[in-house]
Amino acid sequence: MKNIWKLTWFLVLPLILVYCEKDQDQTMDNEEELITDVVMTFTDELGNIQTFSFSDPDGPGGNAPSLDEITLASLATYALSIQFLDASDPMDLEDITLEVAEESAEHLVCFDFSGNISSITISDDDENGLPLGLEAVLTTLQPGNGTLTISLKHLPDKDNSIPCSTGETDVEVTFQVVIE
């Protein structure tokens, strides 16, 4: 009888010593936000507004993203503003631009262009007075075609000679441009 008690503590002790981790299945499963849409708003000198967007609401894979063709007037100057959105939940559109602006020193929007675009100049600053890129000024050349690539860099080295070759790319979208 005595031995049974002795055996019992031997069998129970291991159970006391085990601190078992459990699967903490979070209810917010797979609710991570991502950037699904890039919206570019062009405002010409007369105050006319045009928007073009890249949209992939189901995220990478699945349905192919939709991509607008940008149509601009020749020899014109546009104020350009960029917005990043999470449109994965149509009932709850999130504006990620606000977070980018909040952590402005950690972000940089880069522009790469070819064809009949003359120049793009970043017109806003981050908290350290360095370029941010959510606002820019774009000028066009003669009628023709071109491409415009917008990328959002995280933790770029803004002091680098080519800041856009640094950092991790969160967004990289290439639009076809028609200058009329």
């Binding site: 031995n3 002795k6 055996l7 031997f10 069998l11 002790l13 291991p14 010593l17 085990v18 601190y19 078992c20 981790e21 459990k22 699967d23 903490q24 299945d25 979070q26 917010m28 499963d29 797979n30 609710e31 991570e32 936000e33 991502l34 950037i35 699904t36 849409d37 890039v38 890249f54 992939d56 995220g59 990478p60 894979g61 192919a64 993203p65 999470d86 994965s88 999130e94 990620i96 977070e99 990328s151 860099k153 995280h154 933790l155 080295d157 680098n160 070759s165 640094t166 950092g167 991790e168 790319t169 969160d170 967004v171 990289e172 979208v173 290439t174």
Partner: protein, 773 residues
């Protein structure tokens, strides 16, 4: 492998000729001492009966004779140079012939050893052991690195800290990793998912290459890695050890300690408690520090064992918990970033040394709890029941904090995988019956995997049942042993959701595997071994359902729900010199044909995402062949010097496209010269110094269009090792000093996934102190 590596000693016994009943002390005990692995005789072992004056020495053929033995239960003690002495309790009633089979190659890894009573059968598998000094010096690094020196074993790395073992070109789900008798179940499908085992819990690690045993599963197309802790003490008292290690590169400190004992008396409890702490900072290549490459680890384990007359109950618990910084220069968002990084040639951010572990990082927790019951009777008959639970949580943090979450949730991984596995194993082992010895058993596994905040792989539940039966025929002194085994497996995946999608699909797999092998001992005690296994591996969920950008590798992986199981015919032949001869060594050849080999094939069209276009890779099947040759040998030059070499050649081919397979290890060779001066005892006991040269060729056999940069050139590294034992008063301290990459050479390894971004680690000086009390 040195002779001091000889560790295990086990034997089984066969009662031979029986002559009438005797009652006086005139029984004659005769017998042979044999090496289990090679089944060849072992010379000059000493055999004695405990508590008596009776004893003798076996002759050069391993034969011994003991006269005037009294009937009853006697305790037979066997010892031999280089072996630990062991005792064996045997009931003697008449003249008896004993065959004492002693393991020279750590066959203690038959984890079910009671007083040396388990039945190691000569095996046709090629197994290699790492323990002693070789394990000690690498314990502070990781499990895979400890195995790297074995021919045929390579390491697949992500940076310098995350390392996965690879056997003959196979890794992840194609090899089995056993931790203390339990199959390690984590997220092993990922190339950057290293095994979560604390090497300090282990006393020895054995690698079985090719098809050997079907006991643990059929999917070990490449081989099996068994890692085992030391057995618990059986002599009364408390003892312990402390192990300290310092690394110059990464300025890493490791401390590990254990306390163990045996209570004796009525409780007969053996126990051990063990813990490890590890902290390292930025790694350094010869030229620069790598940003965010710190690591920290804290591990803990205990075990408890109660011995009874015929049975044994054992509990084991271990908890591994680590945080690894991922080299920030390798964290890329898209293909443009990757191209920029390759063009730069060296990382953009080259900070000073620090211990900070920032984003991106990985945090892994792995828990194992197992209970084990063994009952044994007669001559090596045994039943074993083992129940285990494992839990693995893997959190991956991107460089970028997630958008749109509350500050409180920012410490939650961007992806969290949680996997819980329960297993029940029941096995029966039988002793000699008409020269047959064998084992059969069944295993049941249930696994539940959830992926939170990320849809790279789906949530699933897996149920598996396996049944195996293996027999070996060996009749002494006939030089041939034959073995064969069968295994049936059933596996079912119930896949529920993936990311935001509901899948609700079941995948079922059912198959048969088989192994045959033989061991033949030549007149000169050389041994020839050969085996062939028909193995299969069902596709894993990542191969079936993967969908998404694989971070760091800038590729979009696409699963394929129509994959079949892989089927392999894995053949190995080898020749081994006797373990007790002057020159030791072995040579093996292998050929592994895998039908429906699952691999990633680049897709025609890149996948367009908001992060840019990614090259797509789709899981497809082909027929593949991996073949190679490996050898190792060690030869004394004079009494104090030993020269050794380990070499492996490997070739992997996709038979349908006639192209080489990706990520195959390059041919390599390791040379070492070791010097052990004969010094007066009490000064620098067991002093040794070893200089080695590791040469790894350039892998120029690669598939076209599947890589971003050409494979790095070949490299040769010099390593240096020395150690001795020092008695500080009553306390023995073992000191080891290691210099890895002594010449601080700049190089990159093809099997490192971060080779696009930075060089490998530079010189690392490691000082290890180990003391026992």
């Amino acid at each position: 492998m040195r002779k001091s590596v000889i560790t295990g000693i086990l034997f089984w016994l066969v009662i031979g000729i029986i002559q009438g009943q005797q009652k006086k002390c005139d029984i004659i005990l005769k017998g042979y001492v044999l090496d289990t692995t090679t089944a060849s005789p072992l010379d000059y072992a000493s055999i004695s009966i405990r508590g008596t004056e009776t004893g003798t020495l076996a002759n050069e053929k391993g034969y011994f004779e003991l006269g005037k033995v009294c009937p009853g239960i006697i305790e037979l003690e066997i010892s031999r140079v280089g072996l630990l002495s062991r005792t064996w309790v045997v009931d003697i009633q008449q003249d008896t012939i004993l065959f004492l089979n002693i393991s020279m190659e750590g066959l203690r890894l038959e984890e079910v050893v009671i007083g040396g009573k388990a039945a190691p059968i000569p095996k046709s598998e090629i197994s290699q052991l790492v323990d002693g000094i070789e394990l000690t010096t690498n314990q502070g690094l990781n499990l895979a690195t400890a195995l790297e020196n074995l021919p045929g074993v390579s390491v697949l790395r992500t940076g310098a800290t995350i390392a996965k073992p690879m056997i003959r070109g196979m890794h992840s789900n194609r090899i089995l990793l056993l931790n203390n008798g339990v199959i390690q179940e984590g997220q092993q499908w990922g190339l950057e998912h290293a095994p979560s085992i604390d090497p300090f819990t282990l006393e020895e690690i054995t690698v079985i290459k090719g098809a050997g045993t079907l006991e643990y599963g059929s999917n070990a197309l490449g081989g099996i890695i068994k890692s085992n802790p030391a057995s618990l003490p059986k002599e009364k008292g408390i003892s312990g050890s402390i192990h300290l290690q310092g690394h110059s590169n990464s300025r890493m400190g490791v401390a590990s300690g254990l306390l163990e004992g045996y209570s004796g008396g009525w409780s007969k409890l053996g126990y051990r408690i063990q813990g490890t702490l590890k902290r390292g900072g930025s790694l350094k290549t010869p030229d620069y520090f790598l940003d965010n490459t710190g690591q920290s680890e804290h591990n803990f384990s205990w075990s408890l064992q109660r011995l009874f007359q015929r049975n044994k109950i054992q509990f084991y618990y271990s908890r591994y918990s680590s945080t690894f910084g991922i080299f920030s220069g390798a964290h890329i968002g898209n293909l443009t970033d990757l191209k920029n990084a390759i063009e730069r040639g060296e990382p953009l951010i080259q900070p000073d040394f620090n211990y900070t572990i920032d984003r991106p990082q990985q945090r892994v927790v792995h828990e194992l709890f197992k209970g084990n019951y063994i009952y044994e009777w007669g001559s090596s008959n045994e039943i074993q029941l083992q129940v285990s639970r494992q839990f693995n949580r893997r959190e991956e943090f991107d460089a970028h904090r997630p958008f749109g979450v509350l500050p409180a949730e920012k410490e939650i991984g961007d992806i969290t995988f949680e996997i819980t596995t329960h297993t029940v194993d029941l096995g029966w082992k039988h002793g000699n019956w008409k020269s047959l010895r064998g084992k059969m058993g069944t295993q049941w596994t249930r696994q539940n995997n959830t992926a939170d905040r990320g849809g790279l792989i789906p949530n699933y539940t897996m149920n598996g049942v396996g049944w195996y039966w293996m027999e070996t025929w060996k009749k002494f002194p006939f030089p041939l042993a034959i073995e064969g085994g069968l295994r049936l497996d059933y596996k079912k995946f119930e896949v529920s959701t993936q990311g935001r999608d509901t899948i609700n699909v079941q995948n079922e797999f059912f198959n048969l595997s088989a192994v045959v092998g033989f061991i033949y001992t030549l007149k000169n005690n050389w041994t020839i071994k050969a085996n062939t296994g028909w193995l299969w591996r069902p596709p894993h969920v990542n191969e079936l359902y993967s969908e998404g950008v694989h971070h760091g590798s800038a590729s979009y992986e696409i699963g394929n729900r129509n994959l079949f199981p892989e089927r392999a015919i894995n053949s190995t032949a080898s020749i081994h010199l006797p373990t007790d001869s002057k020159i030791t060594g072995s040579l093996s050849l292998y050929h592994n044909l895998i039908r429906d080999f699952i691999y990633l094939q680049p897709t025609q069209q890149p996948v367009l995402t908001i992060r840019g276009a990614f090259p797509g890779f789709e899981y497809l099947q082909t027929n593949a062949v991996i073949q190679g040759i490996e050898w190792e040998w060690a030869a004394p030059i004079g009494p104090q010097w030993v020269i050794s070499n380990k070499t492996s050649f490997l070739k992997g081919e996709n038979r349908q496209t006639n192209e080489p397979l990706i990520y195959m290890p390059a041919n390599q060779t390791h040379w070492a010269v070791e010097y052990r001066p004969a010094l007066k005892s009490g000064t620098l006991d067991d002093l040794f110094t070893k200089l080695s040269w590791e040469y790894v060729g350039s892998q120029n056999r690669i598939p076209s269009d599947a890589d971003y940069a050409p494979p790095p050139p070949s490299y040769g590294l010099i390593h240096w090792n020395m150690g001795w034992n020092w008695n500080a008063g009553q306390t023995p301290i073992s000191i080891t000093f290691t210099a890895n990459n002594l010449l601080n050479k700049r190089y990159r390894s093809y099997l490192n996934r971060l080779r696009y971004y930075s060089d490998e680690m530079g010189r690392n000086l490691i000082l290890t102190l180990k003391t026992k009390f």
